[in-house]
Amino acid sequence: MLYGNPVYYMDVSLFNMHLFKGLKSDWVEPAPDIINSLNYLTRLLYVWLERVGYYLYDSRLSGFGPIWFILFLPGIIFSFVHAFIKKRYRFLFTGGILLLTFMIHPRNWTTRYVIFIVGLGALSFGTVIDYFHPKQNVLRLVALLLAAYTLLTANSPCIMPEKVKEFLHLPAGERTLSRHKPSNIDTKVRDEYGYWIWIENNVAEGDTLAYTFVDSGVDTSRPFFLAPLWNAGFSNTVVYIKSDTYEEWLKKLGSEGAGYILIRKDSVEDQWIEKERRLFYSLRWMGNVKEKFEIVYSDDTYRIVKYKKGLKNEG
């Protein structure tokens, strides 16, 4: 209702007809090179064979597990042929819709986008079990063995037992993502851990933190996750404030009551703040000049600046 698009922020069009207006019409992440080098069928097989070293919850190259490949795939073929011969039109209709949806999905090799097809596999396997009565116990045993294998191999390097042991010794407030450093995101966000920790420990309830960079297509720098911009109690406010001019930016900071500003080093906001700070230091001998920006956190890539006009106790 807010954006007139049920799948906002995705832009949806069909045969050059715009159905729903959004911000992006392409996928957020490009396909892995191996996928681009395979054809429609072989990329599905590649993914279903799970040619990865471990399970990961957001893996793009993991399949549906061995149960799908070994039991459900032949089950689907069998059940469709069986339904066709026996004229089971309801099954054919339902299965047909699911199969068609799967086949036209532009990223059906990304299993989490098309996980509904496993439901069809389960239905089909039920048909197979039913058909081969009374020999179904063999199939049940195979299913159970594969389920046990799946259970034992659903672990991820992101959560290792030693890390759990380490966290057991920490107070609850310190069991944070920045301390966990999970392997699947560490390389992408390790330069952000510093300001995450600072925000957790220093931004108080009711304070407003403004951030100044998002993925604009040309500049793809952005906070990788927005959740760490909130403090440990999620009791502060987070706003995105960007402007073409310094004056406009200041006005927005004031109207939003921003008390802290997260900026990237060498960004245009960083240059504005540096200019303002140089002016302050050159004029403070006059006595009646207030410091507008105070740097409270700085690392190689980011800064957090206290905006003294915006804090609640500053009025």
Partner: protein, 59 residues
């Protein structure tokens, strides 16, 4: 009996198909690394479980 024979043959074919697919699935090169990781994971789990429960569990 004819229907029974047909069912028996289909069953054998189904099992054979499953076996072939299982062979393909478990013989990809990455499967070794996959299983080795999980053995490592469970060994670490067992060690940590021993630590948490104060019982020395050795594998």
């Amino acid at each position: 009996m004819k229907a029974e024979n047909k069912k028996r043959i289909l069953f054998v074919l189904y099992i054979l198909t499953m076996l072939i697919l299982a062979l393909i699935y478990f013989s990809v090169p990455e499967r070794k690394e996959f299983i080795e990781f999980h053995i490592r994971w469970w060994k670490e789990f067992w060690r940590v479980l021993g630590y948490v429960t104060n019982v020395r569990l050795v594998i």
